[in-house]
């Protein structure tokens, strides 16, 4: 079986071809037209006779951040037309009084109302379709009040808009995110509508190109960490905003599972940003909401935390004398000073070179210029630069572990991306983590994650009723529960003793439980999962090395700190396992 995964990043497009446990990898520069990069990477890795092809794309994210989506209209209940502009009334910056939130995706003149009103218990004002004005738009988002309770009006309005504008991409909020809080639901719907035409165009072009190259129609990675058919992805692109980073988390979860660990923290440190995510029971943690480009998107996503710092981040002293690293980055061009491509600003990579954690010549053949790095850093101590960026990473790692009540010491740290394996030992020590796993494919792990991903469809059903009246519940999935009167839920896996386990979770999270309060079942979350292909990797040559040492990997470099030992003996799914002193691998 030949399986292809292609992940498009900002700088490089990575391909992984898996056949009988053998992994071939390729990297090509990302071109203006993403479908060309995808094909170039597929050719570079020698993809032919491929049976399954999975794709991670940044088209949706880029279209949102660069504001290149469709001319979109918004339909609301009369009196609520300005919902997208009012947001939740908080200002963009507490002390910069004229800081603006990002301009809403739909301008006021295309925000319209329709006469109708649903309340918590049903129809208050009947729908008057005649009151719906004509709009001139390529995409239309429809979000009526309480459609998460009763979608009848919203469904009828969407049908009417589709009838009037047969060519438009029309999204109704209850189809996508049937949950309460109208602003967040409207924002999600508007993002989805706005991205619809652009993403559909791209995926259409990709699908044609694949047919020409004799590649199968690709699956597309979603933010949730599962893949969807191309048609499903084109219908609701807001579900794929985190397509690429989610693939990295899936890759890390697979690598951890292959090495026999089911609790891990995924640590993907690239050139300009770093993504971290907790993995428990072999699965990435998930969340129901994320803010992308300033817009709330209330859809299932792997719960990763992103920091705007990576190997290319620039270090500087601020007016108060504190050393800061990032968010400015030297990017791929000119890149760090030591690349000798004209960069003069001191970066994290330059500091790592001066600390002896990088070879003089990278695996790709690039000679590193130690003197240029020293010039760029000037009087900055390279060890301080690394400690400051590590502090940022540490904060992110704590957000996904300690702050969510998870003990990082029960986890292995899965380090990948171009810079992850350089910083892993120091971060593990700070968190009390005794084991670091550096997957063999550390430089292209996202593409490997794509190849291995499950097919997944998340289903949310809003219930909003006392738990005692909820009737029979599915055996698998999660229940969103809260005490009646609260507004935020705790997700508890479905199964026996649901109420008791909610009280326990509340106690663990907030320090108390209240057995007398009624528990409300807000929603049931289930997922249809079709497992991805099983991938067995053939181990790279065995290795045992004590720190301090530098180990070069495919697309990445690993720094083994003093006191750490690196072992690769084929039992870790082909990865390199770093352990502190003579501690043994943790309790999986």
């Amino acid at each position: 079986v030949r399986i292809l995964g292609v992940d498009v990043g900002g700088t490089f497009t990575d391909a992984v071809l898996v056949e009988d446990g053998q992994v071939l990898t390729a990297k090509v520069p990302t071109a203006e037209r993403q479908e060309e990069s995808v094909l170039a990477a597929a050719r570079a890795v020698g993809a032919s006779g491929v049976e399954r092809f999975t794709h991670g794309t940044t088209v949706a994210t880029n279209a949102l951040l660069e504001r290149k989506g469709a001319r979109t209209a918004f339909v609301a209940t009369t009196g609520f037309e300005h919902l997208l502009h009012l947001r939740r009334q908080d200002r963009a910056h507490l002390y910069r009084l004229c800081a603006q939130h990002p301009e809403p995706l739909v301008p006021l003149e295309r925000c319209v109302g329709v006469r109708e009103r649903m309340g918590p218990d049903g129809v208050l004002v009947p729908l008057d379709l005649g009151s719906l004005p004509d709009v001139d738009a390529e995409a239309v988002a429809v979000c009526l009040l309480f459609s998460f309770r009763d979608p009848a009006h919203e469904r009828a309005v969407a049908a009417e808009v589709r009838r009037r504008l047969p060519g438009a991409h029309v999204v109704a909020s209850h189809e996508l995110a049937p949950e309460f809080r109208e602003y967040e639901r409207a924002s999600t719907t508007a993002v989805d509508a706005y991205l619809g035409p652009a993403v559909a165009r791209y995926l259409g072009a990709l699908s044609h190109a694949c047919a020409r190259e004799d590649l199968p129609v690709p699956f597309v990675m979603r933010s949730s960490g599962g893949v969807a058919t191309l048609a499903a992805a084109a219908a609701h692109p807001a579900l794929a905003l985190l397509s690429g980073p989610a693939a990295g988390v899936v890759g890390a979860a697979r690598a951890a599972a292959l090495a026999g660990f089911d609790r891990a923290i995924s640590f993907d440190m690239g050139g300009t940003s770093t993504d971290v995510c907790l993995i428990d029971g072999g699965e990435a943690e998930r969340s129901g909401e994320r803010v992308v480009g300033g817009f709330p998107v209330r859809l299932p996503t792997v719960d990763l935390h992103t920091v705007g710092a990576g190997g290319g981040s620039i270090a500087r002293r601020d007016a108060g004398g504190a050393l800061r690293v990032g968010p400015e980055s030297a990017g791929a061009r000119p890149g760090p000073a030591c690349y000798g491509l004209g960069g003069a600003e001191p970066t994290v990579t330059d500091a790592n070179l001066l600390l002896g954690r990088l070879p003089d010549r990278l695996a790709g053949g690039l000679e590193l210029d130690r003197e240029a790095a020293a010039r760029a850093l000037g009087d900055l101590d390279p060890a301080d630069v690394v400690r400051v960026v590590d502090a940022e990473m540490l904060r992110a790692l704590r957000v996904v572990s300690v702050e969510r009540g998870r003990d990082p010491r029960d986890c292995v740290l899965v380090a990948f991306g171009g810079a992850g394996p350089l910083h892993a030992c120091a971060l593990a020590e700070e968190l009390g983590i005794g084991t670091v796993l550096v997957p063999e494919a550390a430089g292209v792990l996202s593409a490997l994650g794509l190849a291995a991903a499950d097919e997944r469809r998340d289903v949310v059903r809003t219930v909003l009723a006392p738990l005692t009246e909820a009737g029979e519940l599915p055996a698998e999935g999660e229940a969103d529960l809260r005490y009646r009167g609260q507004s935020f839920e705790l997700s508890v896996p479905l199964g026996e003793r649901l109420a008791e386990r909610f009280h326990e979770a509340h106690e663990e999270r907030y320090g108390y439980a209240d057995g007398d309060r009624e528990i409300e079942l807000v929603a049931i979350r289930t997922a249809d999962v079709r497992p991805g292909p099983e991938i067995r990797l053939v181990a790279a040559p065995a290795l045992q090395v004590s720190g301090p040492a530098v180990v070069e990997l495919d697309g990445s470099t690993c720094w083994i700190a003093p006191g750490w030992v690196g072992v690769r003996d084929g039992t870790q799914g082909g990865g390199l396992l770093l352990t502190k002193g003579d501690e043994r691998a943790p309790k999986p």
């Binding site: 009196g79 609520f80 037309e81 300005h82 919902l83 502009h85 009012l86 947001r87 939740r88 009334q89 908080d90 200002r91 963009a92 910056h93 507490l94 002390y95 910069r96 009084l97 004229c98 800081a99 603006q100 939130h101 006021l108 309340g119 918590p120 208050l124 009040l145 309480f146 998460f148 309460f180 809080r181 109208e182 967040e184 007016a319 108060g320 004398g321 504190a322 050393l323 301080d384 400690r387 400051v388 502090a391 940022e392 540490l394 904060r395 704590r398 702050e403 909003l464 005490y483 009167g485 609260q486 507004s487 935020f488 509340h506 999270r509 907030y510 320090g511 108390y512 209240d514 309060r517």
Partner: protein
């Protein structure tokens, strides 16, 4: 700067964020869980503010007085005290503050409760004349289970109050746990050193920014719209080198209504302006305010003495103080035009429910940008309650929530627009309105036009800026909030 101190500093800030998340996510009343009318902070052993979660400006500058009041009670390790007395560390009665003694200082949460007893549901009456008219006054008291029950029994919806207080306790517990962990990890001395540095770092940056202002004395005044007539607030800002003194001599005496505020609130408003002008991106700590001293005559509107009523001081007078202090600074450097200058406090309630919200309006335009629309402009930054959350929990219906288009002032840069919000009550209840800028519009700057003044209506009939009245089922309250002033002359 020592890097380990920076690392511990980040950890302390993360503790505040985590406290805030625990409080909001486990709270029961809309004002906390949806509107996030609450704040969290950590203080050191000397009672200096070290880190805060950036929520509500008026809470934060006023918290040191709460810590001082509790420190004076000599709390034991991990003891938690509760208070709301504006004359002993509080601001106005609905803001209930919890202060715990941690291993290395104090942890504080402050949350605006939807009711704290008293004659008027919601405890934000329009016509209170003494503190006793505004609810239960809690001087610093050790909070145990018995005290908690005794307190909530004096308030409406004791069950909701209990839940909200427990949410605050959950946040206090987070602080205790995390501070202990940090102390184990880095040693108490290491954490203390990091606290000192967080404080000193903000102070250094603010001093450097103040040094760039021209020295001099800059005075300004404005008025509040009290029912019995306008009340002047006067401020003189003196910049000397790296320090600022703000003096309110000449301000009206405390009055017979509830626009009075304790000095803590006045200080908080002054700190807010300095923060906007001198260090908007600073990590928040008390050090940012060390170079700022505030003087106000005892018994004045801005340094009231008991038993003056204070319900509107924290929300409305604080907004006007910001306007006056900005106006004084305008003589030293460019500042934004006036924003809506009110929080548009709306309280509804009866024996079954109490609901409180504040409504955003227009921000004044800045020297280089339009003012945002439909936001809180100064001492608040609470969210709106979603119609869907409101209607699921209360006998209320939102009929309309939209921008008040055209209400922002004209100018080279336009003032932000206000908001129109209509609420229909579904059962008989009391309405209290505490609003400002209904008679005097927010002013433009440098030739910019004024924003539109606000309006309050019940069933289409205009009602005063400050009003308490009975509503019948089906009545509709419509609030039109002020627009912000414009900046500069409109280009032809």
């Amino acid at each position: 700067v020592n890097i380990e101190l920076q690392v511990i500093g980040s950890a302390l800030r993360a503790v505040c964020e985590e406290m805030g998340a625990a409080l909001i996510r486990s709270a029961f009343s809309a004002n906390i869980k949806e509107r996030r009318d609450c704040s969290t902070a950590l203080f050191d052993e000397h009672g200096r503010m070290i880190a805060q979660a950036e929520h509500i400006p008026v809470h934060l500058g006023a918290m040191p007085d709460a810590v001082a009041a509790v420190a004076a009670c000599d709390p034991g390790l991990h003891d938690t005290f509760v208070l709301n007395d504006p004359y002993a560390g509080g601001t106005h009665l609905p803001d209930v503050t919890l202060v715990s003694r941690t291993a290395l200082g104090f942890a504080v949460t402050r949350a605006h409760h939807a009711d704290v007893g008293g004659p008027e549901p919601g405890s934000m009456p329009a016509s209170s004349r003494t503190l006793a008219d505004e609810g239960v006054v809690i001087s610093p008291t050790r909070l145990d289970a018995t005290t908690l029950e005794r307190l909530v029994a004096q308030m409406r919806n004791p069950d909701e109050r209990r839940g909200d207080l427990r949410a605050q306790l959950a946040a206090q517990a987070v602080a205790r746990r995390r501070i202990d962990e940090l102390s184990d990890r880095y040693g108490p001395e290491g954490v203390r050193a990091a606290m000192d540095e967080l404080y000193a770092y903000s102070e250094r940056l603010v001093r450097a920014a103040i040094a760039k202002l021209p020295n001099g004395r800059f005075a300004a005044e404005d008025v509040l719209e009290a029912a019995a007539g306008a009340l002047p607030i006067r401020a003189a800002v003196t910049v000397t080198g790296e320090e600022i003194e703000i003096d309110f001599t000449g301000t009206s005496s405390q009055h017979d209504g509830n626009l009075n505020c304790p000095l803590a609130v006045t200080r908080s408003a002054c700190f807010f302006v300095v923060r906007c002008l001198a260090g908007p991106d600073l990590p928040a700590s008390g050090g940012a305010f060390a170079p700022v001293s505030v003087r106000a005559p005892e018994g004045s509107l801005v340094n009231a003495r008991p038993p003056a009523a204070v319900a509107a001081g924290n929300v409305e007078t604080s907004s006007r103080i910001v306007d006056v202090v900005f106006a004084a600074f305008a003589q030293a450097r460019p500042v934004p035009a006036q924003g809506q200058g009110t929080m548009n406090n709306l309280t509804l309630g009866n024996d079954r429910f109490t609901y409180y919200e504040t409504i955003g309006g227009g921000q004044g335009a800045c020297p280089d940008a339009d003012g945002p629309s439909g936001v809180h402009v100064a001492m608040s930054n609470t969210l709106s309650t979603p119609a869907e959350a409101l209607e699921l929990g209360y006998p209320l219906r939102i009929e309309r929530h939209e921008l008040r288009l055209g209400s922002g002032g004209e100018g080279r840069f336009r003032g932000g627009d206000g908001v129109v919000r209509e609420l229909r009550v579904l059962e008989p209840c009391r309405l209290s309105l505490l609003t400002e800028r209904r008679a005097r519009a927010p002013r433009g700057a440098e030739g910019g036009g004024p924003g539109a003044e606000g309006r309050n209506l019940v069933n289409g009939m205009e009602v005063p800026a400050k009003a308490t009245l009975d509503l019948e089922a089906g009545d509709v309250v419509r609030i039109e909030t002020p627009g912000g002033g414009g900046y500069g002359v409109t280009a032809e």
